[in-house]
Amino acid sequence: MTKTMHVTATPHWLCDNSHVAGRRARFNSAAAVTLLMCLAICSSATVEAGFREQAKRIHDRIAGVPPSQPVLDAMEDELSNNQPLAAADIAIANPSFYNVTLKNLVTPWTNGDFDAFAPLNDYTATIIGMVRDDADFREILTANTVYVGNLNHTSMAGVPPYSNTNNEHYKAMEINGADLSDAAVLRAEFQSSIIGTPVAATAGVMTTRAAAKAFFIDGTNRAMFRFTLLNHLCNDMEQVKDTTRPSDRIRQDISRSPGGDSRLFLNNCVGCHSGMDPMAQAFAYYDFVNTDDAGTNGFMQYISAVVDPKYHINSANFKQGFVTPDDSWSNYWRSGPNAELLGWDPLLAGGGSGAKSMGQELAHSEAFAQCQVKKVFRAVCLRDASEDDRPDFESMVVNFKSSNYNLKRVFADSALYCKGD
């Protein structure tokens, strides 16, 4: 905040608005007052909060926008009547919870650059829709579901239909200001119907077009696993590196002696690839096919029982490496330190075929549940949870599970925890 004090002149572009041409001097003054008020208000933020102030913060954090007077009154009443979840539910009911808060939480997960400014897409819309409809959040990695706009709705004028090959449908919805909280605007469809992916090959957001464009494009499909692990289990490869797992499923393209020095492989590469490669094998039949040179348009390709050639590239790097024969996957991290770190579901087999069952393996882990709470906590409390927060954090995880993995409950719990004293 203090940096704003140093601004003494208004940039030229600030005054480019055609409605205010010729009044530059006045708006310089306006900006200066804005800054002064900013400082004044920041200094007042330490005032102790009552129910009303807590209600405002809860609403701000959940919906991203301030409450209207009646809403604030209602939330204050609920808090004062010791009905905190009811107060939070009022904020959750605000459309901005879906159109702003959830969208901005999810959008960075949908691209490799973690770009929060990326346009709305089917990955984001699907998670928003599933949260809105109280879906078991674990199904985001398994479901045969994609949320699309209802073209018959009045807010969808000019919006093109969903396309496998571009994102225009969602971009137009965003520009139109389509209300994603409205079930009449955004509705669930089967991926198998809309995208054409076989039912068995659908795996929630991992098999949306946006995810495919980001993580199945080029490469070796390991990116889909890495980013899913990162975005939904809150662990990057560095955190799960375990050199003690069997190395039999590491593909041929991984050099066992990078630059002629096998220590690099033995101390580093094997740590990630021994666990990642047998998991990423689940994506063996997927690819993203570009249909233009710019890389904007293209579609996810799934060919049943045909291993994509990308799984066999650079096969001479280590001829004795693993040659992918199918899309069967195994979770080698069910043994070793990652068994404790990630907490796998003992009711699952730890192996299978295809992305759907592998997505289930990830989604049913303890780390998945913890990760959702971590992310929501950060979004709502505006900071990462610390050791001081552990008891409440763990309660939030318990509540998340007992609510049938309803993410709204995590928002409510987090906002109530951070509502202020």
Partner: protein
């Protein structure tokens, strides 16, 4: 070596094994070996006889084809006075295999000193290997090179003489020994190493340090004791020291001791035995400070093997009929990399700068080069211009994919005079191989270069087989890992008549030392023919480095006599072994295996299972053999296992979760998850709204729908990424505030222009008296601050600020009709873009 094995392959068939694995593994290599293996077609070799003191042969013609083969392959290469003809001539020292008067008599004499089944076992080879009259020099490296060359000559003869029968590598029972206790060297230098280091630093530093006048690798004699420890590990052998009683000097196997005791290598006191004893005592001190590691008694394990116990597994099969310079880097020490092509004059390369030998044969170039003399290098000019075509072949592991520039690559192999004059260069430009060749269609620098396609990224920082070929018809071609890259030479092939014969062959740099290439070269060869695709594929399939079959006895586990699990093992690089393609074999055809379960096989090293690289831990199969099929492949995979003591000392064994009726299954219970990491820290309880939140908040306050206002939407899209993207208040910048203000102006402009009723009946086209400003100010404050929210600024304070702003915008108290609207927009924007809106 490979030539010898080819001869073995294509020679007498021992046929002791008719095993399935031969079909799946070895046979393939053998067929390739016999399809034109090392020196298989000597008549193609234009190298011919060389030697300055060799007279023209005028004796009788060879009586048989075999004698003719002997003549071409061996006799012409050895009969010069500099080699063997000076002594083993007519009337000279027996046997007279180098006599120049009668090729048939020379042939008879040669037969007494060759073994065409196993060329490496020929007395002609072993005698030279013992140091007998090596024309390359007297040091160990030179002697090994001479022996290697002679072995190649004999192998070529054997290959031609014995024809193309399939090779069978005879698997014979190795010595049976239990996996014993092993003293493993710790990762960091123990205190007891100090005594050894002191001896090294005192007596060996004049050579074995990087800053010595003539540096000799390994640099174990430097001041840095940790570096010395790492480099000394492979020179130490500790298991012979029992420590209960003093170990005699004669039992010591450490290289440091052996070099002094047996090879009298630079003894410092004048008495090698006393120096060896001093080193032996220091090693004993270290050995007795380390406890032996015993294999876990619960393990189900095989018998043990070391690499020297293995059976050589190199199948031969390289196509070397036209090779004119060959570097296999087998010497492993010293500063000379010998040309073992057998084609004189040998272009031996001098290693300089930061270069080091790599385990498993090879050199690593860090900041140096390996260069031959211009006089010896003239051989390349002479032999290549004679054919008008050539190939450069190498097994390389580039250190990175960032070195080199287009048409000025980092030099891998070059025959040149500097950065602007060359005959040829194989180089690296990041992910591309580049091939520069001087011809009448290129300039004197070989430009334009032939480069592999950027998008293909053919060059990878891993061990690769690369061959570039040139002939006038096809021009230049590049093959990587046996595959033609399909990159087209940008110019016609032309002719290479203008080559300069004063250039030098150099590896890893330009002769002017200013185009460094970093990486490992494990083999380099120059051929004076453009190799065919099949020949290149053949050489790629043959691989590089020395390989062994290790036979791990499992009799006691399978209850089958002479039963083994066999691995092909080689030293992969300086830091690891490659274990590949295991198979089961029963050497007693009368003892067959019937559905013996084998599960979870792991590789043990020096008394314990290797921690990293257990690629067979998930193996789950059953072994069944019969009298006619005594072997069974177990896996097509390979793995690398970290090197510990060195290839001479490391002892391996196999352990099994289950083999036969013996089992040691690991526990599979899932552990309880550990607590989630919560690594946040105390930070501000408040933050700023982010981009969409800001716009949505302004929309909520003003009631303006951005979607219905194209101008406002356009403004938002333009400035969206200038708004805050994270809530952290400490990252808020002045530029963020400017964007917030601009958006606020947009919303306020629409709010006032649209006349939505937000301000009641205020007419913004009319005058606004001072006492009516509150009609604008109050609704704004209520909407932005909320009512009765004590964490927000006070109503009155805010109103005063806004009123003061009106004072400045409407200096005569009353806003005139043309001032009301813009002044009110400014007042509106001041609060809408303020922290009261922004902070959450």
């Amino acid at each position: 070596m490979k030539a010898a094995q080819t001869a073995n392959a294509c020679g007498k068939i021992k046929a002791v094994l008719h095993v399935h694995w031969l079909v799946t593994a070895a046979m393939l290599m053998v067929l390739q070996a016999c399809s034109g293996g090392s020196g298989s077609d000597p008549t193609e070799n234009p190298a011919g006889p060389f030697g300055s003191s060799k007279v023209t042969y005028t004796g009788p013609d060879p009586q048989t084809a075999d004698i003719q083969s002997f003549r071409i392959s061996v006799w012409e290469n050895l009969r010069s006075a500099e080699r063997c003809g000076g002594c083993h001539n007519a009337g000279g020292q027996s046997p007279g295999f180098a006599r120049s008067d009668d090729i048939n008599l020379a042939y008879n004499a040669a037969n007494s000193v060759v073994n065409l089944e196993i060329p490496s076992a020929s007395r002609m080879v072993t005698k030279v290997a013992e140091g007998h009259n090596c024309w390359q020099g007297n040091d160990a490296g030179a002697v090994a090179a001479c022996a290697n060359i002679v072995e190649g000559y004999v192998a070529n003869w054997a290959n031609a003489a014995l024809g193309g029968a399939a090779k069978v590598i005879q698997l014979t029972p190795p010595p049976i020994k239990n996996a014993g206790a092993s003293k493993n060297l710790p990762a960091a230098a123990p205190a007891q190493f100090t005594a050894i280091h002191n001896l090294l630093a005192t007596h060996c530093a004049s050579c074995h340090t990087s800053d010595a006048a003539v540096p000799q690798t390994p640099y174990f004699a430097g001041d840095d004791i940790e570096e010395s420890w790492q480099l000394s590990k492979s020179k130490l052998s500790l298991d012979e020291y029992l420590c209960a009683t003093a170990t005699p000097l004669s039992d010591a196997q450490s290289r440091f001791v052996v070099r002094l005791r047996d090879q009298f290598h630079n003894c410092w006191s004048g008495g090698c035995e006393s120096d060896a004893l001093e080193m032996h005592n220091a090693v004993e001190g270290l050995a007795c400070s380390i406890s032996a590691t015993q294999p876990d008694s619960g393990l189900v394990i095989s018998k043990a093997m070391r690499l020297p116990d293995g059976i050589p597994a190199n199948s031969g099969g390289r196509h070397e009929a036209s090779v004119i310079a060959l570097y296999e880097f087998q010497t492993g020490s010293g500063t000379t990399a010998f040309d073992t092509s057998g084609v004189a004059p040998e272009i031996n390369l001098t290693l300089s700068g930061q270069t080091e030998w790599v385990g498993g044969w090879g050199i690593r170039i860090t900041d140096g080069k390996a260069q031959g003399s211009t006089s010896d290098s003239k051989k390349l000019h002479d032999l290549i211009t004679a054919t008008g075509e050539y190939s450069i072949e190498a097994w390389v592991a580039p250190a990175n994919v960032t070195q080199g520039d287009a048409e000025d690559p980092a030099r891998i192999i070059s025959y040149s005079a500097g950065t602007s004059d060359r005959n040829f260069t194989l180089g690296q430009n990041m992910y591309n191989y580049e091939f520069l060749n001087r011809s009448n269609t290129t300039d004197a620098n070989g430009i334009p270069a032939l480069a592999t396609n950027d998008d293909d990224e053919d060059l990878q920082a891993t061990l690769q087989h690369v061959v570039v070929t040139y002939n006038p018809v096809d021009g230049r071609r590049v093959y990587v890992n046996g595959v033609y890259t399909e990159d087209i030479d940008p110019v016609d092939g032309g002719i290479i008549a203008d080559w300069n014969d004063t250039y030098a062959l150099v590896l890893g740099n330009e002769v002017s030392s200013d185009r460094l290439w970093q990486g490992v070269i494990r083999l380099a060869a120059i051929h004076n023919r453009a190799l065919t695709a099949a020949q290149i594929q053949q050489n790629f399939a043959t691989g590089v480095g020395e390989k062994f079959f290790l036979l791990f006895n499992v009799d006691e586990l399978t209850d089958v006599r002479e039963s083994y699990v066999v691995f092909e093992v080689s030293q992969f690089d300086s830091y690891s072994y490659l274990f590949s393609e295991p198979f089961y074999v029963g050497l007693d055809a009368n003892a067959t295996a019937a559905s013996i379960p084998l599960q979870g096989m792991r590789i043990g090293i020096n008394g314990r299972e290797a921690i990293v690289g257990q690629s067979f831990a998930n193996l789950n199969t059953a072994i069944s053999t019969s009298a006619s099929s005594t072997s069974q492949p177990l896996s097509s995979l390979g793995t690398v296992i970290g090197l510990e003591k060195g290839p001479e000392a490391d002892e391996f064994f196999l352990s099994f979760e289950r083999l036969g009726n013996n089992s040691n299954a690991p526990q599979t219970t899932l552990p309880a998850p550990v607590q989630v990491r919560l690594d946040g820290s105390l930070s501000s309880a408040i933050g700023v709204r982010t981009f969409d939140e800001i716009s949505a908040t302004m929309a909520a306050i003003t009631g303006i729908s951005i979607a219905n206002n194209p101008s406002l939407l356009s403004t938002y899209i333009d400035i969206k990424q200038a708004l805050p993207s994270v809530e952290n208040i400490e990252t808020f910048l002045s530029s963020h505030q400017m964007a917030v203000t601009q958006l606020a102006i947009g919303y306020c402009d629409e709010l006032i222009e649209a006349d939505t009723g937000f301000f009641g009946s205020v007419d913004f086209a009319a005058t606004l008296p001072e006492n009516e400003r509150n009609r604008v100010i109050d609704p704004l404050i209520d909407a932005v601050l909320g009512t009765n929210v004590t964490t927000q600024p006070s109503f009155n304070t805010t109103a005063t600020e806004m009123d003061a702003l009106y004072d400045r915008l409407c200096p005569f108290n009353e806003c005139t009709a043309d001032q009301t609207s813009p002044a009110s927009k400014g007042v509106c924007a001041a609060i809408l873009g303020s922290a009261a809106m922004l902070v959450q």
